[in-house]
């Protein structure tokens, strides 16, 4: 799919309805890997507890302490801490992530990032946008207090219009800058197909770091494999395969048969299982893959922008990551 970056298929009204529906159906407290709220200096009362060494003497509730008796402990009054949530969105920019040609996974990821930005920005939370496998000079972007609303669209267009790198080369992950940008108690949403090669463990290190310091890691696995297999076998039973990410196939046509794709699926399942073990630090949520493009039959004539938009409108509200974010208060 070429041309200008297609607009986000969801209108403001649709996002409002989605946000409203999520608030009704998802409890805003008590869920999630980490508690967002902690003791602070706000006006919202948290609890009374006994004075401990180091507590601020100004926090003692003298009336409550008097009710404990002369020998009773001093009681201090604590308040909730008001903290702005930071949501980090991490995009996979591998050339292979621009496949399938008629409905790139990158399009779904950009649309998802845009929609999340809209939802997160309404709560005036900070937003961090970072990439893996992106250009060497690509640095994470940080927008505070919901100012990402206007900028995110330009960034998405810039990413969409980036010159396509060769599929043949092995992409290299660059995560150092993003790791440094991650803030405590933030939510890191990774939009990828998780099929990349990570020989030096850079991505793994990032994802593990995204689970430390009360951070939560949400993996959105975009899976185009069934659609790609269906399209390939519908067009021809044998065909030449392009070299992708350093995997050559020679110049001869190969059989696009069941054993070939079954073998691939087995390898992919094994890879997912291995990575789940390697990456999980207790704060990772890896939901079932999102089928993209979601279509019932292979489309020989291609998957145009309108069909892609329709599919996105159908898929996005069902993403489990929305409930995770809502539970962290990111969506209001």
């Amino acid at each position: 799919m070429k041309g200008a970056f297609p607009d986000l298929p969801l209108s403001d009204r649709e996002l409002d309805r989605l946000q409203f529906g999520l608030r009704r159906s998802v409890p805003s407290e008590g869920l999630g890997s980490h508690l967002r709220r902690k003791q602070g200096q706000s006006l919202e009362f948290r609890e009374h507890r006994s004075y401990q060494y180091g507590d601020d003497i100004r926090m003692v509730d003298w009336r409550a302490s008097q009710r404990m008796g002369r020998d009773g402990p001093q009681i201090i009054k604590t308040f909730e801490a008001e903290e702005r949530l930071a949501v980090a969105i991490v995009l996979d920019l591998r050339p292979a992530f621009r496949l399938p040609v008629d409905a790139p996974k990158l399009l779904f990821a950009l649309w998802t990032a845009l929609a999340l930005c809209e939802l997160v920005g309404r709560e005036k939370d900070d937003l961090i946008l970072g990439t893996v496998f992106g250009p060497e000079d690509d640095k994470p972007l940080l927008w505070r207090k919901g100012r990402a609303l206007r900028e995110m669209r330009k960034v998405a267009e810039r990413i969409w219009s980036m010159p396509e790198a060769s599929l043949e080369g092995v992409p290299r992950a660059r995560t150092g800058a993003l790791c440094r940008k991650l803030r405590p108690a933030s939510v890191v949403v990774v939009l990828s197909d998780m099929l990349f090669d990570d020989p030096d463990g850079e991505v793994g290190a990032l994802l593990r770091a995204a689970q430390l310091r009360r951070r939560e890691l949400l993996l959105v696995d975009i899976d185009s494999i069934p659609a790609e297999i269906a399209d390939a076998t519908a067009a021809s039973q044998s065909r030449r395969l392009a070299t992708v990410e350093g995997r050559p196939f020679g110049a001869d046509p190969v059989e696009l048969d069941t054993p070939l794709f079954d073998g691939a699926m087995a390898a992919i399942d094994a890879l997912r299982a291995t990575r789940h073990r390697e990456w999980s630090q207790g704060g990772m949520t890896w939901h079932a893959p999102v089928r993209w493009p979601d279509r019932t039959a292979p489309a020989k004539a291609g998957f145009d922008a309108e069909q892609a938009a329709e599919a996105f409108r159908r898929i996005f509200p069902t993403l489990p990551v929305l409930r995770n974010l809502l539970s962290r208060g990111a969506l209001g």
Binding site: A96, D193, L195, A242, V244, E255
Partner: protein, 537 residues
């Protein structure tokens, strides 16, 4: 034809192009890195798909563009075929009749004609491309066209007279040698009035007259005038024409045993015709000669072989009737006048006037039956009188070759009979002194028959012109050497289009249509959303 061939070739190539099964680009799978080692396919990709591309808009647009292009080529080819050929194909028509030997400032006219022809060839080889030259020489009749590969050959004169008709025939002669674009006529004849500028095939006709005016007197004919029963003498007349002369030269006439020099006198029958007459001296060779030198010598001497006997000589065998005084006695081919029953079969092979006994007595009770309109024999008769005194018909069968001119009714018996060749008549024997009306009737019929058989006239014996080097056929046609020399025509060879253009109005329209189809095809192929690797070729 070439356009059709190219069109068919292009259409075939276009169909083949659209039936190509283009190899699909390599398939890029995002999970290719995790694929196991695939099996190499044993099935090769087919080069062509045997499916006609009738559903392809691009195919039809390209086909339409091709057809428009071929039609444009065809139209321009048709136009070019109607335009003058790129080069010059020259037909030389050279008059080689005897009069082309007439000297003009000491040089014969044929030499002048050759000079003009050579100059024209040089001119034609100059700016224009001379593709073909053919030569036709014309004397009494035109020769077949001959293709010239090198220089202009010597064109010997022929001892023949030529007419303008022969030259015109040569101009229009169809040929397989060249398709002439220009016809150059070189002759001493002036261009006939109304000569078309172009032939039916469109070739430009250039008529170049050579030879200055030269005065000439030419012998035209020698005729024998015989007087018949008038008693006058037979005379030999020599006709001559004067061209550029006002007085006729003396003519020397030589015949059997005589030679007379005669001064011709102007004829009243035709302007420019002069006549010299001598007494006819019997059969033999007669020669007329203009002794004074003039422009053309080929018509100055005319010889005729006169084999006609003296008209008026008869072999008279009627003993009861005196021979008329104006008739001379003759034998051989002379007319035989005799009774029918007294002639021999040999006599019947000669001109004869035969009589039979029709009177006296006559055919009582009979009437004039059928008769042929024969004014020479019946013109002087009163048929009422004849019917009142009708003679007896011929009782014997008619000799071979005779047919009745008049028969009796009833009976259908011949009274008068005639033979055409040799001339012969059978009439009732004259009855002088028999009393009216038989005397008159028989005499009128007999003398009418005799006058008819002895009828005089003009005879043109076979004759030949004798030139300086031998006989010249039809030299009288060449006598007019005093014609005014027309200005030399402009001999110009260009390849400008002639009037045979068929019009090329369709070419720009067809070209525009072709370009429009190509543009539409490109727009269709490159239209956003349709641009794929396959159909945007």
């Amino acid at each position: 034809m070439i356009a059709l061939f190219l069109g068919a070739l292009g259409a075939g190539a276009l169909i083949a192009w659209h039936m190509q099964r283009r190899p699909l680009p390599p398939l890029a799978l995002s999970f290719a890195r995790l694929l196991p080692e695939p099996r190499i396919s044993a099935q090769k990709e087919r080069r062509f798909a045997l499916i006609l591309p009738i559903a392809s808009v691009g195919f039809w647009l390209r086909m339409l563009a091709l057809m428009a292009g071929m039609a444009a080529l065809l139209s321009i080819w048709l136009d070019l075929r109607g335009i003058a050929q790129p080069g010059v194909a020259l037909r030389l028509v050279i008059d080689t009749s005897d009069s082309m030997g007439v000297l003009d400032d000491g040089r014969p006219r044929i030499e002048l004609a050759r000079e003009v022809a050579a100059s024209a060839l040089v001119q034609a080889r100059g700016p224009a491309d001379l593709t073909c030259v053919e030569l036709i020489t014309v004397a009494a009749a035109p020769t077949a066209p001959v293709r010239l590969k090198a220089e202009l050959p010597l064109t010997p004169l022929r001892a023949e007279g030529a007419s303008v008709a022969g030259l015109l025939t040569a101009i229009a002669t169809p040929t397989e040698v060249c398709a002439p674009t220009h016809v150059l006529v070189l002759t001493d004849h002036p261009a006939p009035p109304g000569l078309a500028d172009r032939t039916a095939d469109g070739a430009l006709v250039i008529w170049a007259q050579v030879g200055a005016s030269v005065a000439n007197a030419g012998l035209q004919a020698m005729t024998l005038n015989q007087p018949g029963l008038s008693g006058a003498e037979s005379r030999l007349a020599i006709d001559l024409t004067l061209h550029g002369l006002t007085t006729a030269p003396a003519v020397l006439v030589e015949g059997p045993g005589f030679a007379d020099e005669v001064i011709p006198v102007a004829s009243s029958s035709r302007e420019g015709l002069w006549r010299a007459e001598v007494l006819y001296r019997g059969t033999g060779t007669y020669t007329a000669t203009i002794e004074s030198p003039d422009g053309y010598a080929g018509d100055d001497r005319l010889r005729a072989e006169v084999l006609v006997g003296t008209v008026g000589a008869v072999e008279w065998r009627l003993t009861d009737l005196a021979v008329p005084a104006s008739l001379a006695a003759g034998t051989g081919d002379a007319l035989v006048v005799a009774r029918l029953d007294a002639v021999t079969p040999a006599d019947l092979d000669r001109p004869v006037l035969l009589t039979y006994p029709g009177w006296p007595g006559g055919a009582s009770g009979a009437q004039v039956g059928s008769f042929l309109p024969d004014p020479a024999l019946l013109g002087a008769l009163n048929l009422d009188v004849l019917e009142a005194a009708l003679p007896n018909p011929l009782q014997t069968p008619l000799p071979t070759g005779f047919a009745p001119v008049m028969v009796t009714e009833p009976g259908n018996r011949p009274i008068l009979a005639r033979r055409i060749s040799p001339p012969g008549l059978i009439v009732p024997h004259p009855q002088p002194g028999a009393g009216a009306p038989v005397d008159a009737l028989s005499t009128v019929i007999f003398l009418s028959a005799l006058a008819d058989l002895l009828q005089g006239g003009t005879i043109m014996p076979p004759q030949t012109w004798l030139g300086t080097s031998g006989p010249v056929a039809q030299a009288g046609l060449e006598s007019d050497t005093a014609r005014a020399l027309a200005p030399a025509p402009e001999i110009r060879f260009d390849t400008a289009p002639d009037s045979r253009q068929t019009g090329g109005d369709l070419f720009p329209l067809l070209t525009l249509l072709m370009l429009l189809c190509i543009l539409l095809e490109r727009l269709h192929a490159l239209w956003p959303g349709r641009r794929t690797r396959t159909n945007a070729v």
